[in-house]
């Protein structure tokens, strides 16, 4: 049996999916969090059923690609759980009636049921069941209320005889149901609504946005630095270093195995940043340099996502984003990109046109450094002074704007106007917010750790075979001539294809000037995406557009790196 979870965007389908299947998925408080289909298993009675979390859709009329796909999906399902936002019944029922017309057995989950009470909405459940003709179960997905009843209602799913209606007839039918089922009592403006108004008005909203973004940056840095300074550095220096010192002695302080495991000794000592062995830098970089920032970044991003602030930021940024050929909602994939470019490129699916998706994906790959890369920039460039970090960020921001304007003028196609629903503010549901943080942190370790160790292993092998030297001599005109970097820096650029954090780490032993370090960091950020992003770009853009995108990346990295070299 195949169960489809369908409903309007941002009604809580993914939270219900998680409750039904135990499969953890990323959930947030903005429309369009789920961009691909997630599968899971659940038990209905004695039967094993497949559950599919379908991305949200307002209608089955194919007005967008997502809706077209949702419609195709429907033909493969056996039962639909139509998730409905109880605080916005009228608009949600339109899709409910459309689904009923498809003659597929259905139950309705009336989600966010707890919110109806304090919003002064009274829904007559029995009447609603009678008029819709299918089981209706009130649920509060975030607390789990009603989930058991929802599962029990599944065998009772039916497909009542429903006439196929036109647009207007359907809205009239919805109106008829609402008239009989729903009573709304007058209520006062709540503090959340006042805050909501203030955050989208241009002046107050702009100020609030500046404060929110600045505070986010400061808090991310504070938490990240504290984790490094008080937790990870002491752990590595006091517990791990003595172990490695012993191992180094045992291995005789040199030789192939020593190089692979411990790396090279810097002034006779193991240096976690510069030694570049599997057990030294291979563990220190991911755990003590990158992980702290992954945790702090995703903690803050999760808060922004779950409170419902991001769609408001999208409204405020709309005018600016149109300058670079996007509309305001593209700020969401962009912000995700500061964590990791892979989910960010996937999230560009919330943008309607091909042109927008191309521009957004390219800009993210070039000018939005992921958390791992940023952590290394903080660590290495920050050690030379924060003005150099500011130079890196300032350059990338300028690239984002200039390249965006060029693409707006050069890329054919259109950018539709912003049209989004702004969800009410919510207090983050702590359980799901923390679960999301854990999923993302674990995801980083699972995906990145093998690649980081693999990259360091490969580096050591290639080094000992002399391959890098050959490449370095071959590419010296570009690397030295254009970027003003020592020719060995090419190895970092090449390794950047595997992991950008390791690549920045490879600049550490090169004894670069601060200016060279800025050039190196910027070039590494802009040149090719890492292999994981590369794969997603290929899937999302297609081969031809991927090639165009990569051409833009290489060209702009050469130009910007060269210019920076001249200036610095």
């Amino acid at each position: 049996m195949k169960v489809l979870l369908m409903g309007n965007p941002n009604v809580g389908k993914s939270v219900i999916f998680s409750r039904l299947t135990g499969v953890r998925v990323i959930t947030s408080n903005y429309p369009g969090t789920t961009v691909s289909y997630t599968h899971g298993q659940m038990k209905v009675g004695d039967e094993q059923a497949e559950v599919i979390d379908v991305p949200g859709t307002y209608t089955l009329e194919p007005t967008s690609e997502a809706e077209e796909v949702a419609r195709q999906m429907l033909e493969t399902g056996d039962v639909v759980i139509n998730v409905v936002n109880a605080t916005n019944l009228e608009r949600n029922l339109y899709l409910t009636l459309q689904l009923l017309e498809q003659k597929i057995p259905m139950v309705v989950a009336l989600n966010m049921w707890d919110d109806t009470r304090h919003q002064g909405i009274d829904i007559d459940l029995d009447k609603l069941r009678e008029m819709v003709g299918v089981p209706v179960v009130p649920t509060v997905a975030t607390t789990g209320e009603g989930i058991k009843e929802l599962v029990e209602s599944l065998p009772k799913a039916v497909s009542p005889d429903t006439p196929v209606r036109t647009h207007d007839e359907r809205w009239a039918a919805v109106g008829g149901i609402i008239e009989q089922v729903q009573r709304v009592s007058h209520r006062h403006h709540t503090w959340r609504e006042r805050l909501s108004d203030a955050t989208v008005r241009p002046i107050s909203g702009g100020l609030i946005a500046l404060v929110v973004l600045a505070a986010s940056f400061i808090v991310v840095r504070f938490i990240g630095e504290s984790l490094i300074g008080y937790v990870f550095d002491p752990l590595f220096n006091n517990l791990w270093l003595p172990v490695l010192d012993r191992l180094s002695d045992l291995l005789g302080g040199g030789g192939f195995l020593h190089t692979v495991l411990i790396g090279s000794l810097i002034n006779g000592n193991i240096d976690f940043v510069q030694s570049f062995g599997l057990l030294s830098s291979g563990l220190y970089v991911p755990f003590a340099m990158v992980l702290p920032y992954i945790v702090s970044f995703y903690l803050i991003l999760g808060l922004l996502e779950d409170t419902g602030y991001l769609p408001r930021l999208a409204v405020l940024m709309d005018t600016v984003m149109h300058r670079v050929g996007l509309h305001g909602y593209a700020i969401i994939p962009t912000l995700l990109g500061f964590g990791c470019n892979v989910p960010a490129v996937m999230a560009t699916r919330i943008l309607e046109s091909k042109r927008e998706r191309f521009i957004a994906a390219t800009l993210i790959s070039i000018a939005v450094p992921c958390a791992a890369l940023q952590a290394m920039i903080f660590g290495l460039v920050g050690a030379r002074g924060w003005q150099y970090v500011a130079m890196v960020y300032g350059t990338l921001f300028a690239v984002w704007i200039v390249l965006g304007i060029i693409m707006r003028l050069a890329v054919r196609g259109f950018t539709p106007e912003l049209l989004i629903e702004i969800p009410p503010y919510r207090l983050p549901p702590w359980r799901t917010s923390l679960q999301k943080l854990w999923m993302r942190t674990y995801g980083f370790l699972k995906e990145a750790l093998p690649l980081i160790l693999g990259a360091i292993f490969v580096i050591n092998i290639l080094h000992s075979l002399g391959v890098f030297e050959a490449i370095a001599n071959f590419t010296a005109p570009v690397v030295t001539g254009i970027f003003g970097l020592p020719k060995e820096a090419v190895t970092a650029i090449a390794i950047g294809f595997l992991r950008k954090d390791v690549a920045v780490g490879m600049l550490a032993p090169l004894a670069l000037t601060s200016g060279q370090l800025v050039v190196g960091s910027v070039v590494l950020s802009m040149f090719f995406p890492c292999v994981a992003t590369f794969v997603v770009l290929l899937r999302e853009l297609g081969l031809l557009n991927l090639l165009k995108s990569v051409a833009i990346m290489i060209l702009s990295a050469l130009v910007v790196g060269g210019l920076l070299n001249l200036i610095l």
Binding site: V200, A314, T319, L418
Partner: protein, 81 residues
């Protein structure tokens, strides 16, 4: 009562949508969000330089690009959404 576009309506003003000037595409996109003729709406905010307009419609908040908002014609008046 004065008839104007959603773009011209002032923040805080309410009105009733009387028509949407545009083809099927825009009418369907808006209708999916319950923005259709006959609906009472309240404008919550507008932005400078032709930025998006936010409205309250049937207890939900929606942000609409300025161009699209200019094609939504409302009868301004004291109708609460």
């Amino acid at each position: 009562m004065p008839v104007k576009s959603l773009g011209q309506l002032r923040a805080g003003e309410s009105g009733k949508i009387i028509r949407i000037e545009g083809g099927h595409g825009i009418i369907n996109r808006l209708a999916a969000l319950d923005i259709r003729p006959g609906r009472n709406i309240r404008k919550l905010s507008s932005s400078f330089i032709r930025g998006p307009v936010t409205i309250e419609v049937n207890r939900a908040q929606v942000a609409i690009g300025f161009g699209m908002a200019s094609r939504i014609i409302v009868e301004a008046g004291n109708t609460s959404p």
